[in-house]
Amino acid sequence: MTEPITVVIAEDNALLREGLAGLLDRGGFRVLAAVGNADELLRACRALAPDLVITDVRMPPDHRAEGLAAAVLLRAENPDLPVVVLSQYVEQSYVADLLDSSGRGGIGYLLKDRVSDVADFGETLRRVHAGGTAVDPEVIGQLLRRRRDPLERLTAREREVLAEMAQGHSNAAIARRLFVSDAAVVKHIGNIMMKLDLPPNDDQNRRVAAVLAYLRGPAG
């Protein structure tokens, strides 16, 4: 039995904060602190050095993107710190802010609704903790719609693989989720990278970043 992953949670809504803490406790994480605003989040992280940070985007005092700003700041101080941002917005501009933050630690941007799928949520947190990237499928879906034109060149299967890849799944996980062989996944990914003019890359995080950067690019 390995040590449980330690977490600091920042969420201004007390109901959700309690719920999230309870859910993480049951999911085998250890919650070091659950705070309600960005300043407390910064203080808690600097004092407690958690393995993983989970924060809401919008928090008091003025309900702008303080949570996100705090996450970006924490990563600047500690590039290895994995951060998961929970949001009620699908908007990818927030994802962009997060991806643009320097750092080697994993990154997650999830819609809050995902929290209710307990098993999946726990798995996503572990993936980010291990240095992976997890961007919400809703956001990916929107980005895929945005870059419709060049994506025409991809087959339906390749598009599925691209969406999985953008969410940060490993080759093995993609193979398992789409019920195809590892070799097929490797071939699909090679084709996708070629069709989209992206450099081939085996590093999970850099690969996701490249795909997302491509998807975020100007439409048309």
Binding site: N13, G19, H63, Q88, Y89
Partner: protein, 425 residues
């Protein structure tokens, strides 16, 4: 426009000395105008005084006098109207530049000044002469003690002041008269101001003022509407969404704790799915009410995100490069949102473009183009969408052009005033 109320402007308090100066100045101007009219009409008075000269000469003199008056009165009227308007503006502390436009070459612009001049020369003339007589009499009365002391005497109308006792009475009477004049100056000045404003303001000027007021109240309404939208958005975001999410989380925990074959598990699962689809719908509502991304990332980001959700491919071209003032961003966002929704709903377009640019410093232009079937703004839609856009554009003091021939393409262009660079708010 210093006030945006539609109520008639309450007379501002007028200082007594300011009123005295105004009344004095106006009286002098009236006397000057009377003198001018007297000079111009001189041939007529001559003719009337010398009836024995013969009909021909009298006729010629009268005609000459009338011609002189006809030519001179408009000039007098124009000068009187302009100077009195300025005097009244000074009296009320108002803007002197929004006066009537008077051109001698434009007879219509002379009607009101002439009417005003008639009032001025008759009523005003009577008042001015009375004031002048009283002031002169008072001055003489005040100097009478000096004259009496020097062995001389002063004559004020029917009264002769030739003894010390009479001189004292004269000085007292003069002081009373002057005090009385100072006391009646403010109401007199106010009455004059009212006449000037009433007679000289042309109806279209009043209309312009009303329009400015209307535009202001329109802008106020739009602003209040946006504040309300933000409040609703926040209530949903901080109240309803978390509560529903909490329900969904609790159901998730219950599901995680339930064995796969537990009775009722299917119902719990369905309940969770319902909560989730409600959350999805709610997210859409909240975004439409007021997108947070507009505040955090600005107009271009918000428009791009919105375009992502529409079925028609939309290209966004941003040549602004910086954030605009919050109010401009909000109004433009909702205008663009409406235009893009129209493209998606009605145009059958294959593709659309949104361009944001600065055609000139201090101005911002948004152009929405689509290759659809056209006929926007003419297909009898009554969804109020374009009216809403017009309201917002008016609130920004901008212009809206829609070119949408049947068969397309449709081009909608909104141009508004927007100050330059604005740092992060």
């Amino acid at each position: 426009m210093q006030r945006a109320g539609s109520a008639p402007e309450a007379p501002p308090a007028i200082g007594a000395w300011r009123a005295v100066l105004h009344v004095g100045g106006t009286s002098l101007r009236v006397l000057a105008a009377l003198a001018a009219v007297g000079l111009l009409g001189a041939p007529i008075w001559l003719a009337l005084g010398r009836a024995e000269r013969g009909a021909g000469a009298v006729g010629a003199l009268v005609i000459a006098g009338l011609v002189l008056l006809g030519a001179g009165l408009p000039v007098i009227a124009a000068v009187a109207a302009r100077s009195d308007w300025r005097a009244v503006a000074w009296l009320l502390g108002a803007d002197p530049t929004d006066g009537p436009t008077i051109r001698l070459t434009e007879p219509r612009s002379l009607v009101r000044p002439l009417a005003y001049t008639v009032v001025l020369l008759t009523l005003g003339g009577a008042a001015a002469v009375l004031i002048a007589v009283l002031v002169v009499a008072a001055v003489v009365a005040l100097t009478s003690p000096i004259l009496v002391a020097a062995g001389d005497h002063a004559v004020i109308g029917p009264f002769a002041v030739d003894t010390a006792a009479r001189a004292v009475v004269a000085v007292a009477a003069a002081l009373v008269v002057l005090a009385g004049l100072v006391a009646v100056a403010p109401p007199l000045a106010r009455a004059h101001a009212a006449v000037v404003r009433q007679v000289l303001t042309r109806p279209e000027q009043r209309l312009r003022r009303d329009l400015a007021t209307t535009a202001l109240s329109r802008a106020r309404l739009v602003r209040a509407f946006d504040v309300e939208r933000r409040r609703i958005e926040r209530d949903l975001h901080d109240g309803v969404q978390p509560q529903l999410l909490s329900v969904s989380m609790t159901l998730g925990l219950a599901l995680a704790a339930m064995p796969a074959d537990a009775p009722g598990r299917a119902d719990v699962l369905r309940a969770q799915q319902q909560a989730r689809s409600t959350l999805d719908a709610l997210r859409g509502f909240v975004r439409n009410i007021h997108p947070q991304v507009l505040i955090d990332h600005g107009l271009v980001a918000a428009v791009s995100e919105l375009a992502d959700t529409l079925p028609v491919p939309i290209t966004i071209t941003d040549r602004l490069g910086d954030r605009l003032p919050a109010e401009v961003e909000t109004n433009l966002y909702f205008c663009i949102a409406e235009l893009m929704a129209n493209v998606a709903k009605h145009s059958l377009a294959e593709h659309a473009q949104v361009e944001l640019e600065r055609p000139a410093p201090g101005r911002v232009r948004v152009t929405v183009r689509d290759d659809g079937r056209g006929g926007a703004a003419s297909n009898g839609r009554v969804d109020g969408g374009l009216a809403g856009i017009a309201d917002r554009v008016a609130a920004l003091g901008g212009s809206l052009l829609i070119d949408s021939p049947l068969g397309g393409p449709t081009i909608a262009a909104i141009t508004v005033a927007a100050p330059g660079k604005e740092a992060n708010r």
